[in-house]
Point group: C2
Chain length 210, copies 2
């Protein structure tokens, strides 16, 4: 398999974490989304949304969207329970993550790193406010005392949530300010084979022209 | 089953469309999210994110998030293919929808209806721009000539996308300006038993105090 990857992307990190934890061999093609390399005809053919990650299977079929990649790879493993209701709880957190965490925290984090929060302060503040509210939701969800997002077992929902929750302080939303979230982050990082190799944004993102 | 529902919500519409198309009996509990009725202790127990839709099963278990509800209900039906790769294509469009369509178009549509676009014009414009880009992605995704989002068969991905694409013009992003999207909307609306009963926003949302 081949992962079209960007080391500084939390969405790509999710896929790398799972591939390593499942022990699946894969090769990496780094695509610099920050230079527009994901918005070419070749890459649009892999993902009409022009983003990474994209997983390419050995037969050439491609799967975009980190959530879809996680569910594909985890099928038949302990990281995705077979029970229909248990699976619904995994799905619910994964959709929540894309809607309320990725769409807010990932975007605000990029804007802050690139110095673009100053160009659009109102849009930036809107994302930070919503990101903070999303962390409050996760705190409520974890308040029942179960160790992981979807219940007693570590699943791909935890990997999906981890991607941008662990670095949400970069977007003005400190996850360690929430007790249950903080303990959950530690549990996720303590699972077997967990490696967070999220890279800093490259210099051409953070070096804002004056 | 019981659906905690809001007639004017595109996310709730998705669940109603599927429940009807599958012929599943259910009762409705209308919750006025616009008056804060989804942010009460009772409702937080159903959904820690304090939103609708929520599906309550006969044993009292609850499933939040429209995407998770659609996947739960469609399991074992023709609207969710059993093949692993085919299912990944369904998932990919559903995650895209929550991340790039719901987070932009649904929010902008509400702000415009409530007259709040004037309070936060920059944040509103950001959502409209992103919503338009998301429609361009859907147009690219449908350009291969297949009739539905995930391929030859109508699936829950189409229902998920329909929820806010069909009314995106309310958010300044006209779906009928895109040929493939427009033809796809017609095909979705032509599926057996399809009923779009999205209600207008209630008067207490649109009657902006002066």
């Amino acid at each position: 398999m081949r992962l079209y990857d960007q080391p500084a992307s939390g969405n790509c990190l999710k896929c790398r974490v799972l591939l390593r934890q499942l022990g699946l061999p894969y090769e990496t093609v780094v695509v610099d989304l920050f230079r527009g390399e994901t918005r070419t005809p070749d890459h649009f053919a892999r993902n009409p949304d022009g983003r990474v990650p994209v997983l390419e299977l050995d037969d050439g079929a491609t799967i975009p969207e980190s959530g879809a990649i996680l569910l594909y790879l985890a099928e038949g493993t302990p990281l995705l329970p077979p029970d229909r209701l248990a699976r619904a709880r995994v799905h619910a957190w994964m959709f929540f993550e894309q809607n309320q965490i990725e769409a807010t925290i990932a975007s605000a984090r990029f804007l802050a790193a690139a110095g673009r929060d100053r160009d659009a302060p109102e849009a930036f503040a809107d994302k930070v406010t919503r990101g903070r509210a999303a962390l409050e939701t996760l705190e409520r969800g974890l308040a029942d005392g179960r160790p992981f997002a979807a219940g007693d077992a570590y699943t791909v929902a935890d990997i999906a949530l981890y991607g941008y929750v662990h670095c949400a302080a970069d977007a003005g939303a400190d996850p360690r300010a929430h007790g249950h979230v903080s303990a959950w982050l530690d549990r996720v990082e303590g699972t077997a084979g967990f490696v967070n190799d999220l890279a800093p944004f490259p210099a051409h993102v953070t070096a804002r022209p004056i």
